[in-house]
């Protein structure tokens, strides 16, 4: 699974992207968030509050309940501020 991080999520996690193999019981974005939190440190900080970040699965906005698999690309970022 490919993970992407943007803006302050990228700064807190200390990376812009990575490829991970997730455990079999990680089937939704929320599962993934909880798994990433186990890393602690900047990951624990970045993912502490689910209201503060947004998610895209395969470049489309998604909710925490979205079902994901090993071939998906999941991006985490703050609420957008363009324009």
């Amino acid at each position: 699974m490919k993970l992407l991080y943007f803006a302050w999520v990228r700064q807190k996690t200390g990376r812009s992207e990575e490829v991970v193999t997730v455990p079999a019981d990680v089937t939704t974005v929320l599962d993934l968030v909880q798994w990433l939190r186990l890393r602690g440190g900047g990951f624990g900080e970045a993912f502490a509050d689910e209201k503060r970040f947004r998610v895209a699965v395969n470049q489309e906005h998604a909710l925490l309940g979205a079902v994901i698999g090993q071939d998906d690309e999941v991006a985490f970022f703050p609420p957008v501020t363009g324009g």
Binding site: L4, F6, W8, A56, Q59, P78, V80, G82, G83
Partner: protein, 149 residues
């Protein structure tokens, strides 16, 4: 038919309007600029980060939704990224239609949705330090009013 560009370079609004409006009775354009200060804190520069690929897809999707709602002859969206200085142009939206109402409304709709769904993030370097700009609930409200009634 949509002209969508995401680029670090500046753009020429007059040229973009001329290119889009050739067959139209009405052309409306909006240009967003970098402000000189934020709450009295002088701005040194603004850096825009985006999600390459998803940004273009979202802008294309928003433009197509506007076309589904209004009779438009053309839509142009140009959005910059990278480091910008105060008073520099950030974003351009141009809508062309046979009559003004569709062009006005569609331009506002495009900006409202661009601000709440296109994956861009602004970081301001101000005199007092670097700050990520927080999303505003008033922007969510502005986009939500289009789905009422």
């Amino acid at each position: 038919m949509n002209r969508i560009r995401v680029q670090p370079d500046d753009f020429d609004p007059g040229l973009e309007i001329a290119q889009l409006g050739a067959q139209a009775g009405a052309v409306v354009s909006f240009v967003g600029l970098v402000r000189a200060e934020n709450s009295g804190d002088r701005l040194i520069s603004m850096t825009l980060e985006h999600f390459p690929g998803m940004t273009e897809r979202e802008l294309e999707r928003i433009a197509n939704e506007a076309r589904a709602r209004w009779e438009l002859l053309g839509v142009t969206i140009v959005h910059r990224y990278g480091e910008l200085k105060p008073s520099e142009r950030i974003v351009l939206v141009v809508t062309a239609a046979s009559h003004r109402r569709a062009a006005f409304e569609a331009a506002e709709y495009l900006m409202d949705y661009l601000k709440t769904s296109a994956p861009f993030w602004k970081q301001e370097l101000r005199q007092s330090g670097a700050y990520w700009i927080e999303a505003r609930s008033s922007d969510d409200d502005a986009a939500a009013r289009w789905s009422k009634g």
